[in-house]
Symmetry: C3
Subunit: 422 residues, 3 copies
Amino acid sequence: MKQELEKYFDRLWPICRSITGNGLRESFHILQELIPLQLEEIPSGTPVFDWEIPDEWNINDAYILAPDGSRICEFRKNNLHVVNYSMPIDREMEYDELVKYIYTLPKQPDTIPYITSYYKRNWGFCMPHALFSKLPQKGKYKVHIDSSLQKGSLTYGHLVLPGETDEEILFSTYLCHPSMANNELSGPLALAFLYKELAKLPKRKYTYRFVVAPETIGVIAYLAKYGTAIGKKIRAGYVLTCCGNEAPFVYKRSKQGISIADKAAEHVLRYGSTPFSIIDFAIGGSDERQYCSPGFNWPVGSLTRSMYRTYPEYHTSLDNKSFISFEALEKTIETYFNIARALEMNERYTNKIPYCEPQLGKRNMYPGEAGWIKAGDHLYNLLHFLSFADGSIDLIDISEKRSKSIFDFEAVIRECKDKGLI
Amino acid sequence: MKQELEKYFDRLWPICRSITGNGLRESFHILQELIPLQLEEIPSGTPVFDWEIPDEWNINDAYILAPDGSRICEFRKNNLHVVNYSMPIDREMEYDELVKYIYTLPKQPDTIPYITSYYKRNWGFCMPHALFSKLPQKGKYKVHIDSSLQKGSLTYGHLVLPGETDEEILFSTYLCHPSMANNELSGPLALAFLYKELAKLPKRKYTYRFVVAPETIGVIAYLAKYGTAIGKKIRAGYVLTCCGNEAPFVYKRSKQGISIADKAAEHVLRYGSTPFSIIDFAIGGSDERQYCSPGFNWPVGSLTRSMYRTYPEYHTSLDNKSFISFEALEKTIETYFNIARALEMNERYTNKIPYCEPQLGKRNMYPGEAGWIKAGDHLYNLLHFLSFADGSIDLIDISEKRSKSIFDFEAVIRECKDKGLI
Amino acid sequence: MKQELEKYFDRLWPICRSITGNGLRESFHILQELIPLQLEEIPSGTPVFDWEIPDEWNINDAYILAPDGSRICEFRKNNLHVVNYSMPIDREMEYDELVKYIYTLPKQPDTIPYITSYYKRNWGFCMPHALFSKLPQKGKYKVHIDSSLQKGSLTYGHLVLPGETDEEILFSTYLCHPSMANNELSGPLALAFLYKELAKLPKRKYTYRFVVAPETIGVIAYLAKYGTAIGKKIRAGYVLTCCGNEAPFVYKRSKQGISIADKAAEHVLRYGSTPFSIIDFAIGGSDERQYCSPGFNWPVGSLTRSMYRTYPEYHTSLDNKSFISFEALEKTIETYFNIARALEMNERYTNKIPYCEPQLGKRNMYPGEAGWIKAGDHLYNLLHFLSFADGSIDLIDISEKRSKSIFDFEAVIRECKDKGLI
């Protein structure tokens, strides 16, 4: 999987995405090779809850000509150089005017910051502070942004992978950042490859919904159209973001805090092999802010690695390919897949022989004369399961009462089904 | 405030108070300069629940004449020398008889203990053990107590400070101890000055009830008259006692243990600057014993500093002005005031734009292009509040989910009200 | 009690018990000298829930004649030498065949293991590995087991000790192991002597049910006959097993985990003097597996010392008289008795003077002028009890709120009853 992840990463990386526009559409088309997302276009000006779809932004080129004629802040070298959603401009100006439109990070002087101005018409350039501080303060600068900002539409994609019931598990990620790795491409790549694994399953209890949309406004548009209808069916959901580097996992709980989404994710982490921490829902996140807003309050959490705003490379040119690891990303996908598997397995089972223990011997389920002494873990798992399977608690609870992973009970469940005990 | 506190302390200090009598009335009249308490007189013999108002006690003078003619245990030098509620007596006796009526503290030999005998007719003197052990055991002693114990009345005072609703916050303290500082005067002084602060507020959601009464019997009398009527309206209450020295705060929970009285007090302490500890309700306290008795069980806690029975100066002549600090007392008053403020602010707010986040930009509530990066704590507080304000939890809960004080949300609440968001 | 315990231990020790048979009956007859158990015989072939009563097993003798004519594995020297429930056999065989029927513990080479084969027809011998490894591998061996396995019956005993109500406390133990001490005889001895103590009580609120049955199949047979009828009446129950050695107590909770059985046992341990630990219900235990099976799920826990499967002597010839202590066993019986006493005392009491505190002085319940200062623990216990006795919580809760044992409140309860306060 690693090679495939890297191949798609390399193709998606150079594209200048935003919350609307052709870079976004081009990225969707590449993702469609992996997951057959249905795309929808929402026209500029459409009201979506308290918001409105903005004009569409496209950009061809941007740079600054320095007084000595050299080009700086070249968009074609790094699309972070231009403030995302910059209005077009093409004129000369003095240094003193220019500096009002330059963004740098004085504490990370070799780094280009990532800046946007979606809802306030503006323009600007981003550059390393080290270069900025060497710019001559005399002479004419020419700024050139060949962009357009006009009526168009916002694009999002979604896909429903059906299961035996119409109860849904949601996986959501965003697509809208230009060239950044952990805080952009790790999310859609994880979602697309997770889809591939789930699609391979011979049967699924749950229906799976995949949403890829520009952050915030895209998900708000999606919820404005589908939120009410989906709400009744959602059993658990996760926002995939910032999940591609080698850092320990961080699971951020849904606002409900004790939902089955949280229970399954925390169980899988607790009995998995990767270090992790768990934090409560907090504002200052990604699209769980919309999914968990008071009117919806869906059971949507988020499993990340280096989380937004917690690492110095965040929202800068340092959040690039060398910051992430395709092995780590693969492990993230595997962990999300295990969460889905845990949700699939998790039920309230009922032992059909409730009065005293079933006699295992006559069913060839007992290991012989030495009995308990030689009995391995399997017999204990079996008896433990039969004792607690009274329909009042689910398999995750039963597993944790034995300090075991739900996956340790797969053989027991299969055997009990075969023998007609559940 | 400190100077005023000290001035009133100095005036109240020398008065010989008891659970009835003119010393008590005189103290009330001084307090009325600060808080317009309405006084009520309950006649001796009045049944109050399981109790009966005792005869009224007054005292002019008391002393012992030693065999050598010297005066000891002079009431006019320290009113602790006489057992509170001593019957009158004026006769000679031998040492062997006298010693049955002398109380000392052998382990604190230079200290006068504080002893009462309200409900069993008796008389006695209290003195430092060091002096007692030097008394000559031969010769005649003359004991003189010029007191009276006869039909009269018990005095208490109360005041209702109205608010927008008739839901009430109760502040109660006792007045009945002679010259002691932490365990007597800290309570009524804190209550009186707390009243002054609350009365200054331009508006109050709650109605505030102030009760000053002799401990136990006074509050029992008060509850016998008003308890049933008040009970329905009480939302929170506090007993002010032992709150004047430099020790860390101790908050003793109401018997309910999880009442809003406890929640508000613990929240204010947790996010305040003074060290504190929290203990569960326990018998062996002050008037919360009556307020929390099974028939009432009101949400009444108590914020103290060096608590009754936990410090060696308790109930002795060492609990005097040098034991307390007017700065500490002022901090206590401020903390009680903050508890009231927290109760006033605490509500279940409901975000009027429940589906997805409100768009802050169009309301000029968003800090500009750099967005999250430059956003300070205020933006996070605002989004956090809007996300959790679904009417299901109160503002203290919302604040604690962000590990913040409720007071950190004052600006947010004001802004949201101004913008019509709540 | 210790001498009596030892006397009965010595008489029960040599008998070869099993889940059926005359050794079991003989053991019951000895126990009947201590507790008048009613015995019942359930015929072989009777279906009991998912199980069936097996044929009855009896044995007279067993041994192996070695090639040199010496006798080894002599049943009459140690009844563990023969696999419990061995079919009769009497023939010669080569070493290579014999070894398939020999059980040893290579890691405990001087120890005889305890092996059974109740439900699979088989035969076998158990011996120390050190002896086994010296057996000549050439020459004829003669194996001799003079046993019978035929239609008969399974025996169990039970007794109901009536109380004022028909709510029941269950004490259950098993009888089925041959010569082993902690994991067999500690249980029935503790139960029999506990019965004697409870029978002496002048009155009992609860009815006590004592069950002595072969482990698993015996209790399944008992429950098949009586389970439904008893179920409604059981308030608490305990399985007495592995409770005779000097190890700290281990209390294993009922599957409910928060039942009054658990609460009383944990309270008594917490305020007792013997070290203890508490573990949650887990499979791999004794008859609580049946009592707590999904269909019953009774509040049945188990107080043990060195628990089954946790000590190396378990199920071997080392679990003998020198492994246990009659002092420890007596302490176990006392602790079970205290649990019963706690259950008897535990009620929701209601203070008849609910508004404010009762005046103790007029009832001669108050210690005099010094009041609180000289008041001992008794006054505090009394006031604490009266404050919390509002009918909403039980006496164990009230005691624990004061970090005291329920037994510390015996005098208070008696005094309040005498004075008509409850």
